[in-house]
């Protein structure tokens, strides 16, 4: 049983760390495909990357149901840490989650299991926070959409390898859809629902 003393810390500076992390996330989602860094000092429970932990402490609270995938819920560490630092409720049903933390992205459940929002309230959707293997090396993905001047190239090792094919559902569903934040260590890249894949190569 984890005692409070053994619990990984939260932000070193709650207010300013949350602000700087938010600006990184905001820049990431405003400029899809661009790699942003999370500079904040943050403790991490086992299985969670720094970027994901910082985003959790910046955006999660008692108003945001959180869904954890198998890797994140393998030990109770992540759920306990979220509950202690963010008071965020962890739910079993991904379709009511505001955020989903995905540690083992290769086994990402079908996107239909998450919330897409409604046509009247497309903002009531699940945002996926996906931990990936690299955001600087790997196959290239050429992206376009709002926030991108012409096209942007993202080099990343992303599982599941068909993530962008699965996200093409966003095109048919818009304005409903799923927004994704990819995290590797302290780097983040956002793929909001408006971003389209033009081409992918090696």
């Amino acid at each position: 049983m984890t005692t409070i003393a053994e619990m990984p810390a939260g932000f070193a500076d709650k207010v300013l760390s949350a602000q700087s992390t938010f600006r990184s996330v905001m820049d990431a989602i405003a400029r899809p495909g661009s790699v942003q860094r999370v500079a904040a000092d943050v403790g991490t429970p086992a299985g969670m990357m720094r970027g994901a932990a910082a985003i959790a402490l910046t955006l999660f609270d008692h108003d945001t149901p959180i869904w954890l995938d198998g890797a994140m819920s393998a030990t109770p560490d992540v759920a306990r840490w979220l509950k202690f630092h963010a008071s965020a409720p962890v739910v079993a049903d991904p379709s009511i989650a505001s955020f989903a933390l995905i540690g083992d992205a290769a086994n990402l459940p079908a996107l239909e299991r998450f919330a897409f929002g409604s046509s009247e309230y497309p903002d009531r959707s699940t945002t996926l926070i996906l931990q990936v293997d690299s955001l600087t090396q790997g196959p290239a993905f050429e992206l376009k959409g709002p926030g991108i001047d012409g096209s942007a190239v993202l080099q990343a090792m992303i599982k599941p390898s068909d993530l962008f094919q699965r996200l093409s559902i966003n095109e048919a569903l818009f304005p409903r859809g799923i927004d994704v934040v990819l995290v590797h260590d302290d780097s983040i890249v956002a793929i909001p629902r408006t971003t389209r894949l033009i081409a992918s190569g090696v």
């Binding site: 709650k14 207010v15 300013l16 949350a18 602000q19 700087s20 938010f22 600006r23 996330v25 905001m26 989602i29 405003a30 400029r31 910046t58 955006l59 999660f60 609270d61 108003d63 945001t64 505001s98 409604s118 046509s119 009247e120 309230y121 497309p122 903002d123 959707s125 945002t127 709002p146 926030g147 991108i148 001047d149 012409g150 818009f174 304005p175 859809g177 927004d179 909001p192 629902r193 408006t194």
Partner: protein, 294 residues
């Protein structure tokens, strides 16, 4: 006794988280109005409580803040908001458009082109472009869901039927990313083309109406019009009396009771930069001329 201290940038952290989540959704769905739990601010509704809450949620200690009110850095509203954040967040403030990282604005977009890395925060009184055509929120929400914007075109058509041209001069409706019709806040339609494919992020906050919406950088923003009545900007047909600019948006200043008036740039920073660079106007009152469509 110590004076009471506020949290950084006034708002409490839970409120900031809620606003930040709304901002992220707003950017992800360009032009869609995200409801948020707007707080009471230490200023009345109509003085920019929406813009102030958005600014408070994004502002960091390294930011440089500029606040304009109808283009001017020197009006009561602009000065109070600048001082408010100077006091509660200790941020540097500026009047220079290029030096600012966050610009909060009421009713104007600066003349100088904005660059990547800047955020423009608009104060919005009525975020719903369809509100005066359909008062029921349930109906306007459905119209947005179905992208059913015929009513807005009927309104513009009625302008043409009555006046011979589209007479809507401010809060001119735009379509963002070919999907949502959006109210650009009561900016003059002269500014509408600046929103299209803009390098800076544009955020809109409506405090009383509790809505946040956004235009990401490099996003298409099209002013609604008709093939035979294309969108036109207008400005007073005169150069600025102070800096001689003939391409800026002008304010009309009445100088006497005999019909004399002066036309000067509404963007005070733009005008001062030009004067500092050696440009001068006539500095005299001009006879009134009709507005020119350009």
């Amino acid at each position: 006794m110590n004076a009471p201290t506020y949290n950084f940038a006034y708002l409490d952290e839970q409120t900031k988280r809620m606003i930040r989540r709304a901002i992220l959704k707003a950017i992800a769905i360009p032009g869609y109005q995200v409801p948020f739990a707007s707080r009471e601010m230490p200023m009345p509704y109509g003085w920019g409580t929406g813009g102030v809450q958005v600014t408070a949620a994004i502002l960091g200690p390294d930011d440089v803040l500029k606040v304009i009110d109808q283009g001017s850095d020197d009006t009561t509203n602009a000065i109070s908001i600048r001082k408010f954040f100077g006091k509660t967040a200790g941020v540097a403030t500026t009047t220079s458009t290029t030096d600012a990282t966050v610009i909060q604005t009421r009713h104007r977009i600066p003349e100088a082109s904005l660059h990547a890395g800047q955020v423009l925060v608009y104060q919005v009184p009525i975020p719903e472009p369809l509100r005066f055509l359909e008062p029921r929120e349930t109906e306007t929400r459905r119209m947005h869901a179905l992208a059913e914007y015929g009513l807005m075109h009927v309104k513009l058509y009625e302008d043409i039927a009555r006046f011979g041209h589209i007479a809507t001069a401010y809060a001119y409706p735009v379509k963002v990313n070919a999907r949502y019709v959006m109210d650009p806040s009561p900016t003059p339609k002269f500014d509408n083309p600046k929103m299209d494919n803009c390098a800076a992020l544009q955020l809109f906050g409506a405090g009383r109406e509790k809505r946040i919406y956004a235009i990401p950088p490099y996003t298409t923003v099209v002013s609604l019009d008709f093939e035979d009545h294309p969108f036109t900007r207008y400005r007073f047909n005169a150069p600025c009396a102070l800096c001689g600019a003939d391409d800026s948006y002008l304010d009309e200043i009445v100088t006497d009771d005999k019909g004399g008036r002066m036309f000067v740039c509404s963007d005070t920073d733009f005008c001062e930069q030009r004067q500092a660079a050696g440009h001068h106007g006539t500095e005299s009152a001009a006879p009134h001329k009709e507005k020119a469509h350009v």
